[in-house]
């Protein structure tokens, strides 16, 4: 693909990703409401919310908190751009991690009981999902012949048949990143909270809007990584189905599960998630897959 195309797709990604992300959030809330026997807000409610938040009076605890809110959004957008430019997958992940890390750092920079608790728990979520995401890049690179995302497009075959173990592990990681039950320990949307809003307790107004938009980008980026598993050939549209299917499955899992403890999450993520990818790498190295 030519450089012009790549830059064009990066621009489109930056514009379209928050629209898709916001819409998915709206559908998420609607479906969740229906599953809980409520009517729920309109599908474009997240956009109303963000616009309203942007117009509110800022309330700040200190400069560090603000810097991390901006950096959270800016770094995740950077990760999306690097993804659209089909750069090295590990590099995309590292930039994403730096962005995601800004959230707990912002929370920890305020002396507030709930935000401190949420920030520390967010670090444990990080400990649970970072190894899975990093490891997941390995079998993809082993199959497609390198870490640049461009290689996956040149590889010419869908990855899913050989890498379904990795796919399952990535799904677990996705649920942890998005703080969906049973992994919503650092702050969740359900009304079973002992930590208020956890990691984002102390954010409000326009700064909360920045974080919300950042989450939209983050979700689209992670779903796009799942989409990479079937991105070539005449059935390329399956990648979208796969991404949306995973997202929908996650919603159901979210709604039928209760929240569990962080130590359980860590054991599950390392025990099941990491093991699945490790087996996948092992099988590829042995030539079985």
């Amino acid at each position: 693909m030519s450089t012009g195309w790549l830059i064009g797709s990066a621009v489109i990604a930056v514009i379209v990703a928050p629209l898709v992300g916001g819409l998915l959030r709206g559908i998420d809330r609607k479906l969740t409401a229906h599953m809980q026997g409520r009517i729920g807000p309109p599908i474009i409610q997240p956009f109303y919310d963000v616009i309203k938040l942007l117009g509110k009076k800022p309330m700040v605890a200190g400069r560090a908190q603000l810097v991390f809110a901006y950096a959270f959004l800016a770094l995740i957008v950077t990760a999306v751009v690097f993804f659209a430019l089909r750069q090295d997958l590990l590099v995309v992940l590292f930039i994403l991690f730096f962005g995601s890390l800004c959230l707990p750092l912002g929370a920890l920079s305020v002396k507030s009981p709930y935000s401190q608790l949420g920030g520390h728990r967010e670090l444990l979520q990080f400990l649970a999902y970072e190894p899975i995401l990093l490891l997941a890049a390995i079998p993809i690179a082993l199959k497609s012949g390198g870490f640049p995302i461009a290689n996956i497009f040149e590889y010419g075959q869908p990855l899913l048949p050989d890498l379904w173990l990795t796919f399952v592990a990535l799904f677990i990681a996705l649920a942890i990143v998005m703080r969906k039950s049973p992994f919503d320990i650092s702050g969740s949307e359900h009304a079973h909270q002992e930590l208020v809003r956890g990691v984002i307790t102390e954010y409000s107004g326009p700064y909360l809007a920045l974080i919300e938009i950042g989450h939209w980008y983050e979700m689209v980026l992670l779903l796009s990584i799942l989409g990479l598993f079937w991105v070539v050939g005449s059935l390329w549209w399956l990648s979208i189905i796969i991404a949306l299917g995973s997202w929908f499955t996650m919603l159901i899992v979210d709604n039928v599960n209760a929240r569990l403890t962080w130590s359980w999450m860590l054991k599950f993520a390392w025990g099941a998630g990491v093991t699945l990818v490790a087996l996948n790498i092992l099988f590829i190295n042995l030539g079985w897959m």
Binding site: K57, P58, V60, A61, G62, R63, A64, L66, V67, A69, Y70, A71, A74, L75, T78, Q87, D88, L90, V91, F94, I95, F97, F98, L101, P104, L105, A107, L108, S109, V110, K111, S112, P113, Y114, S115, Q116, G119, H120, L123, L124, F126, L127, E130, P131, L134, I138, A141, L142, G145, G146, F147, P148, T201, E202, V274, A278, I281, L282, N285, L286
Partner: protein, 656 residues
């Protein structure tokens, strides 16, 4: 030219060290340390510009005699100190092991030198061998080491004033301190140039001596105990050295020239090679020897910065990287990679439970050295390139972090992370530098992260065993993030407050040196391609690796055969993402608010809340340490046996 540069690098600091021993005046001694630092930095840069490496150099034969004698003098000193300790404090594991291991290191060496060797002293041509790898080490020692020594001028003054104030100290002991610091710099420079294994063993012993002397500097009972622990653990490495020298001479190779051993590439020599690796692992405080480095944290902080993070422990990984070509493609190599990965993961997890700042830094040091060992074990051109890069970037960032910890300690008089809560509002400049330094260990686009990226890609697809290495690497990477981020969080944690914090006074020998080092970390990370082309690629070629198959650097990106890191664009984007908001954003006083406490806040601007019976209660927050699960007491029961078992497997496999 080369002989005078070597003389300045090795000999001059030893001479000025002895001069310091006799100077009681603080300013005069500081002047000598400063001048030594200037000369060392200049001579190391001139050495780099010598161009055509490798260069061999053999000083006059009389030096072989001097080295031979001095080696036994040092060993005799160890013996003397252990016996003295035995007489004063009674029998202990530490002094008995010191005596036993000194004898175990000295006797084989004496048997070799005086009965097996055809003539005494045994000469090797060239005695000293200078290539890019040793020059990289020399630059690290001479530049970072000298800056640390200059920082110590101010640090030790504050340190002694504080101790005298507490009544722990009557008269200054700084002459002895700077004596050990400076002779250490000389011994380190000698170590990296030595090609004759007897010379190498001597300089190795010299660094052990300085390490012992500096750890026990404060002469508290705990300092003395920990100094002996460091001594006997490092002496295990010396025993390895002595045995390796014997084995190598009595093998088919019949040489004690390090370069000849590496070039021979004979896999039959695996046992002596493994013994040299053992020496490297003890010096680099790898599991199960990690306890000496943690104990060494009782020493004044410049010692930790110089010996225990940026230079001496690097000698261990330097040796393993140096001899890596000799075990390429063997089982030893595979096991060393797995071992390094295990150390990386274990130390990252142990670091989470530490509440003493310096211990977190110590564990992180051991872990990063483990990562370098892992790279040496993977042993491809890419992996070795990454290992050398990490050696450089880790030395800068970790030396810097120890200096930061020391400067903060001298403002708050505590090493506990919990006491650093809200330091960002009291010491904004120092904490700003510290947090940047922590970021330089942790996130893209800094050098250490680039090497982590490189290590992950280097470990991909090189054998079935690489699966295990990758899992260890990724899990360790996750745990690393946790302990750094929660420490940064403690620095930043403060009650909502308007406006900027007031800057603390600028202390040139603290802030100035920290700024130089953070500048180095940033500039070298942006220009990593230039660093690679300038010193690492030629070093790889000299060691027999293929520099072109490691990285290519078109448009100053780092590009391997399987990945690409657009170093400077990423740096610019991330710098903008962080700098624009931190410079442009202002928190207005009227936007300030009280943190959420369920509406029970006393008033805005305090961190008090209304508790039971309307009592005003102060809010307290704290970090997460998960001691009951991840504490040393809990994990060391497994960690030490794992380390020992891995080493035993390593040696059993080598012998078979």
């Amino acid at each position: 030219m080369i002989d005078s540069l070597l003389g300045l690098s090795v000999f001059l600091p030893i001479v000025t060290g002895f001069i310091c021993l006799g100077i009681k005046n603080h300013k005069a001694r500081g002047g000598i340390v400063f001048l030594t630092a200037v000369v060392l930095i200049t001579s190391s840069i001139f050495l780099l510009r010598q161009g055509s490496f490798p260069i061999g150099y053999s000083p006059a034969p009389a030096w072989d005699w001097i080295i031979l004698v001095l080696n036994y003098v040092i060993l005799a000193y160890f013996l003397f100190m252990a016996i003295k300790d035995f007489a004063q404090r009674g029998i202990s594991r530490h002094n008995v092991l010191t005596i036993a291991l000194t004898l175990a290191a000295g006797i084989p060496l004496a048997i070799f030198e005086f009965s097996q060797a055809p003539h005494t002293p045994l000469e090797v041509v060239p005695t000293l061998y200078i290539d890019h790898l040793s020059v990289i080490m020399c630059l690290i020692i001479s530049i970072i080491g000298s800056l640390i020594a200059v920082y110590a001028i101010r640090y030790m003054k504050d340190h002694e004033e504080h101790r005298m104030h507490l009544g722990e100290l009557k008269e200054t002991t700084q002459p002895r301190f700077f004596f050990f610091m400076l002779i250490f710099l000389g011994a380190m420079n000698g170590l990296v140039f030595a090609n004759n294994l007897i010379w190498l063993a001597f300089f190795w012993e010299g660094t052990t001596l300085a390490c012992y002397g500096l750890i026990r500097h404060d002469e508290t009972p705990i300092a003395i105990t920990n100094a002996f622990r460091a001594l006997w653990m490092c002496l295990i490495g010396s025993v390895g050295f002595s045995l390796a020298i014997m084995f190598l001479w009595n093998s088919s190779l019949n040489t004690i020239s390090l370069s000849a051993v590496i070039e021979s590439g004979a896999p039959v020599l695996l046992l002596p090679i493994a013994l040299l690796c053992l020496a490297g692992l003890t010096k680099a405080a790898q599991v199960p020897f990690q306890s000496w480095l943690l104990g060494a944290m009782v020493a004044p902080t410049p010692v930790s910065a110089l010996l225990h993070s940026s230079t001496m422990v690097n000698a261990g990984v330097y040796l393993v990287l140096r001899i890596a070509p000799a075990f390429q493609g063997t089982h030893l190599s595979t096991l060393i990679a797995i071992y390094g990965g295990a150390v990386f993961l274990i130390t990252a997890i142990l670091a989470i439970s530490q509440s003493e700042g310096k211990k977190v830094l110590a564990y992180s040091t051991i872990g990063n050295l483990g990562l370098i060992i892992l790279c040496a074990g993977i042993n491809t051109s890419l992996a070795i390139a990454v290992g050398i890069m990490l050696l450089i970037f880790h030395a800068i960032s970790k030396g810097l972090l120890f200096l930061c910890a020391g400067a903060i300690e001298h403002h708050i008089w505590s090493r506990n992370i919990e006491d650093m809560e809200g330091a960002a509002t009291k010491l904004p400049v120092l904490t700003g530098i510290t947090i940047t330094a922590m970021f330089s260990m942790l996130v893209a686009p800094f050098g250490v992260l680039i090497t982590k990226w490189g290590a992950m890609e280097a470990a991909t697809g090189i054998g079935v065993w690489s699966t295990l290495v990758l899992v260890l690497l990724m899990l360790g990477s996750g745990a690393t993030t946790v302990f750094w981020a929660k420490w940064i969080g403690r620095f930043l944690c403060h009650s909502p407050m308007p406006g900027r914090a007031k800057r603390e006074p600028f202390i040139p020998l603290y802030h100035g040196i920290l700024l130089i080092l953070i500048g180095c970390a940033v500039v070298f990370s942006v220009l990593i391609a230039a660093v690679y082309n300038g010193v690492i690629a030629p070093g790889l070629t000299e060691a027999g690796y293929n520099a072109a198959s490691a990285f290519t650097t078109s448009t100053w990106f780092l590009k391997s055969s399987i990945g690409i890191f657009a170093a400077w664009p990423i740096f610019i984007i991330i710098a903008l993402a962080l700098l624009i908001p931190s410079l442009a954003v202002r928190a207005k006083p009227e936007e300030s608010y009280a943190s959420y406490m369920c509406g029970e806040n006393v008033e805005i601007g305090t961190d008090e809340f209304v508790a039971v019976a309307d009592e005003r209660t102060q809010l307290k927050t704290g970090g997460f340490y998960i001691e009951n699960m991840l504490g040393e007491g809990n994990l060391n029961r497994f960690v030490v046996p794992i380390g020992i078992v891995l080493l035993v497997i390593l040696f059993v496999l080598v012998v078979i």
